[in-house]
Symmetry: C2
Subunit: 350 residues, 2 copies
Amino acid sequence: MNLHGGDIYKYKDKNLIDFSSNINPLGVPKSFKCKLKAQIDNFTKYPDIRYQELRATIGEYLDVPCNDIVVGNGAVEIIYKSVSALDVDQIIIGTPTFSEYKRAADIAQKPCKEVEVFTEDKNVGFENLYNHISHNSLVVLCNPNNPTGTLIDVETISRLAQKLHDKNSWLLLDEAFIEFTAEYPFNSMTSRLNKFNNLIIVRAATKYFGIPGVRLGYGLINNKEMVKRIKEQMEPWSVNTAAAIAGTTIFKDQEYIKKTRKWINDERGFLFKQLKRIDNLTPIPTQANFILIKSNVLDAWQLQERLLAKNILIRTPEGFTGLSNNDFRVAIKDRNSNKKLVAALKEILM
Amino acid sequence: MNLHGGDIYKYKDKNLIDFSSNINPLGVPKSFKCKLKAQIDNFTKYPDIRYQELRATIGEYLDVPCNDIVVGNGAVEIIYKSVSALDVDQIIIGTPTFSEYKRAADIAQKPCKEVEVFTEDKNVGFENLYNHISHNSLVVLCNPNNPTGTLIDVETISRLAQKLHDKNSWLLLDEAFIEFTAEYPFNSMTSRLNKFNNLIIVRAATKYFGIPGVRLGYGLINNKEMVKRIKEQMEPWSVNTAAAIAGTTIFKDQEYIKKTRKWINDERGFLFKQLKRIDNLTPIPTQANFILIKSNVLDAWQLQERLLAKNILIRTPEGFTGLSNNDFRVAIKDRNSNKKLVAALKEILM
């Protein structure tokens, strides 16, 4: 099992502010807490093996037919099972990115190529990607990308999907962070799902809604045969009862969604501006709820150590492919925490 | 995805007594409900990717070293990942039994043979099994077996494990129902785990503790290399926060365990005796919390239909390999429900 860069459990005796996980700081939605407490005795039943109610609520949330939805034990299960269900000759992963795509390819024993896509100039990155596309392949992209925060527009994605379609190839698009972007839902490919039968959109229900411990991911696929093949790879009852209950409340929690939009729109700009003013740091412009930062003097581990002394945990480059030793990632948190991070970085670097 | 025989969600508008799932009727332990409610905000963190506290509590419960424990999203995850991690030439499954072993072998694309082990005479069954054992193979047995309720003693299992060891082969022993047996813990192989490095014991934390919706299974393996290989197959964070919290309370809940032992010891004898008196039914002697019954006139689906009219759901043979159309399974429930089942069967059959 891979370890991931910011391991809060390693420091469980310290009272850290955790900038290493990209989780909505508004925390567990009240609507979910109430429903889980009220239905706590439901744990004594097996979940519905077909997850009919859960898929219906997701379908309503995204205006997507229930039969195009596959639910899983977190987005990672959808990624792993999709990669293993697809009968392709090559997997092309756009980097720098989250290392689990590579790991999924390795476990499925499929040849895998990493191609730099999320470069400073997106056009150069995409040209690079186009040069590598072959017949009967799978391209994996994260949008907005983790850890760079880069967002690719739907027109560009659509052209890529069409090109891949022409080459009998697939696109797996990880939209785990899409709801945090300013123009959501207009930059999500869900609205074009019905245009492509070679597109797998992966979504994580639980980052935006602050409940990663619940484990609820889902895939959107307008292709009956592929839905069937992914389900054939899955273990029964892989989505637990808490996740099934969460799915029936969080997507309808307008108060939580409204508060989240206000928070991210305020804090993304604030934190980025503050970080930009710090000597020897170069934050990368982001559309997501995290910021990748290049450190010009200390490497990521040195910086992590100095920040730990101030009870702050950041994400070092393990868990990503294609980063340098001087790259680190911070989550965007509440104003008070963000201020503490900025103050700590200033003390260390200025 | 396989559908399993008793699908309560198919009949969600009816208020059924569910004899199709083998779940402890005492329901969700209070100790778990209290702790989950108190720690409900923990859902906003990722679970510990190494599950250190959870493995420590399981280790304490069974007196097994933490490093020999792998936790999973239900026992099925441990079964699937073990089967796919083992580099064997053949998988031999003792039947009649739960169909997920066969499915795990099929998904891992490993040759698989089904051998009748749980016959009326256990000696005949075991002789049959010994005749089929080959070098570099995996034998899968469920103990006590689902759906027959047959228990194999530790001496017999140990001899088999030794024989398999001599043939460079493995034994996967599914002890999901072992805690329900009268002589537990003396009939569990956990106490002999340290004697065999070719033994994988699979346990489900959540049947005995009445919380299948929580999804918590674990494997016990006294073999560092195999533990590593199974973990390499697993997706990160596959055990959710509710399951991790459950693991830290249920195994210490002596009140729940005591009540459960009293209930199963009373009801197993009661229900079996009552069923035996019904014409045209042959219940198979059981050591577990369920009873396999042979129906001499109606087939399982006809009987299911008649019982549904009386708001009772039983388990038909789908989901098992090696059963006949006249076999059905019932869970052992509380006295009141058990009486209702008996009365309904009498009305239909006598």
